[in-house]
Symmetry: C2
Subunit: 368 residues, 2 copies
């Protein structure tokens, strides 16, 4: 199926470069085009895990909260305690609704004393945060600034980025960032990114300079074999980096989604969903996101969630994503598994394109 284009779906400042470099499939994420793969996924994976990959992730929009009440509002929105968030530091943050459902899992960046960005996953947090704040009457401005992330990931990401910005970035700690202007390009350089290989996210603050920034990084990465890429399906499953909306459904809460360790329920202040999350924690989950090892020949990724049943043939949950892992040479899956089938070692049956196959439940991240 061809992706139709029109003004309702926006392009990032990097899109044309990513397309010219070989991207052939894309999806829509936060109402923007998100490049997904070239015609050679094995080469995409190899560049990310062995060399360096450049990703157009401009669709990871920033919601900027600015004003005297910015930190107070962010505390109220976040299930993780943000009271210690300092300028120059990023934190991974579960956001829940009043019923304790996980509605996004952004990275929060405190870019200034009174300015915080939420770098969001694929649900409309601009609307959500404006709704909450509008009802509360906070003294803040909530905007979508002209900020577009570009990710440099892989073993040679540090050498590549150091070549452009200097060796100081080698000392930058994980989830720390610096805001600067380089060759007239304003941006935030953060050690972060959605791969286990590590790397950097460059938050471009002027959409007119997207191709200039892309070209600088590309040239610096050529000695290391840089290649265009995208958030990598197989690699992120191997290393369990949660994909909100893929691994979760409309009812998932942070405990079920295996990110309960980022929820701080002991804080004194109220936050959206606190009461519901306290109740959920005391009751314990009725289902959990778990890993699956699926038997048989290599499987293609599944276009839709698939069935999961116990050996008696009755419902045991839903498989969210399936991929063949190059690293483990196994078929892996992430599945929302009903209690009591969530125990590691449970033997289940998974629905695949060519029928039902045996699978074994494991904890996350995979430890094979």
């Amino acid at each position: 199926m061809q992706l139709a284009q029109g003004p309702r779906v926006r392009f990032s400042p990097f899109y044309r470069r990513a397309e010219a470099a070989g991207i052939q499939t894309a999806t829509v994420y936060n109402r923007m085009v998100l490049p997904v793969a070239t015609d050679d996924p094995a080469a995409d994976y190899e560049a990310l895990t062995q060399r360096v990959a450049l990703w157009d992730v401009g669709c990871e929009r920033q919601v900027q909260i600015q004003g005297p009440d910015a930190l107070k509002l962010c505390q109220y929105l976040s299930a993780r305690d943000l009271s210690q968030l300092k300028v120059g530091i990023a934190k991974y943050v579960p956001l829940c609704d009043h019923q304790g459902r996980l509605i996004n899992d952004p990275v929060a960046l405190r870019v200034d004393d009174d300015t915080i960005w939420f770098s969001i996953a694929d649900s409309d947090m601009l609307l959500w945060i404006r709704a909450i704040s509008g009802e509360r009457g906070d003294d803040v401005e909530i905007t979508e600034p002209d900020v577009s992330p570009l990710a440099v990931q892989g073993p040679s990401a540090t050498d590549t980025v150091a070549h452009v910005f200097g060796d100081w970035i080698r000392e930058l700690k994980f989830f720390h960032f610096r805001r600067l202007t380089h060759e007239d390009i304003p941006l935030v350089v953060c050690r972060s990114g959605w791969s286990k290989q590590g790397g950097f996210e460059l938050f471009l603050e002027d959409g007119n300079k997207g191709e200039q920034l892309w070209d600088l990084i590309w040239a610096a990465g050529e000695p290391y074999g840089i290649r265009v890429g995208a958030p990598n399906y197989a690699e992120r499953i191997e290393n369990f980096l949660l994909s909100w909306g893929s691994d979760t459904d409309e009812e998932s809460d942070p405990f079920e989604a295996a990110i309960g360790n980022y929820v701080d329920l002991g804080v004194e202040h109220d936050f959206v969903g606190k009461e519901a999350l306290l109740a959920k924690r005391s009751l314990g989950p009725t289902r959990e996101l778990k890993g699956l090892i699926i038997e048989g020949a290599p499987l293609e990724p599944n276009p839709e969630p698939t069935g999961l049943r116990n050996p008696n043939g009755t419902h045991a949950g839903q498989t969210r994503v399936i991929a063949h892992s190059p690293r483990f040479n196994q078929n892996l899956g992430l599945a929302i598994v009903e209690v009591p089938y969530n125990l590691p070692g449970s033997k289940l049956q998974v629905e695949t394109a060519d029928g039902w196959r045996p699978a074994t439940v494991t904890d996350l991240p995979f430890d094979l």
Copy 2:
């Protein structure tokens, strides 16, 4: 560019039938696949305007508000007075945020005394409404029910739908509906739809019966030359049916978007955005959505908004959508035009794929 598939982007219950019937391009709308066109747009247009077209619009999700406070909450959300909304009646409703920005323009259907559906455009109203209601503490349940619209549009839509459901539908007035079960398929039959030709939207209430419903309508439409279609780009511009997110940007309000006549500011109750809309109305718009007639050879639809300038070469707004109109044999555009260039008859320059072209501003809908 190929559309990547994965669990984050859902399929409607009609998708496979639409694909089998020839749909070749699609987009993503409310995080679902929306079929957009076959490989023959001229034939799509001809079927819609001369015969009958069947559209998979399952992505037009329903947000169901149910409970003792349902109507009260909907009044608070809506810029249009809903106090007279009766069971069996639908109304077109602008929804605004606290700053008076237009954030969606659903059709509201009162399906029961305490149950209202908002049949939404492409922004996440489930999140938005839950946020507002969560802060207010209304006694309602807000859910996304298993409801998927299927549109039957065109001059032979009435004959087609009457063949399936009976001749009573010929008497059904515009924006009236009936809830029923037909051959074990539960659905709402509403005289409505996003085309000037008119027709029906069938709100299927059981996703397992999508292909069964599709097949019933298809068989009934065969004598009239039914064809698969989709919300039609050229036809909806010719007749100015507003497309939220295409014709509007992040800052558009209902007055600018030419739907100010659906805003009721004289009501006694408060609603989201009322104060901001009163201020906007008293100041008057600084820009307006207008029609453009663009000179020269037939133009292809534009993938992104394009520039609009006055004869002196300075900024005069932004062209949102461009299409060649088969009916008028003219290039038409919808543009957000800055005051004072919004006057009908203004001569402007429009950026197109092959350079700048002269264009004339007109009122909407087009009267050519």
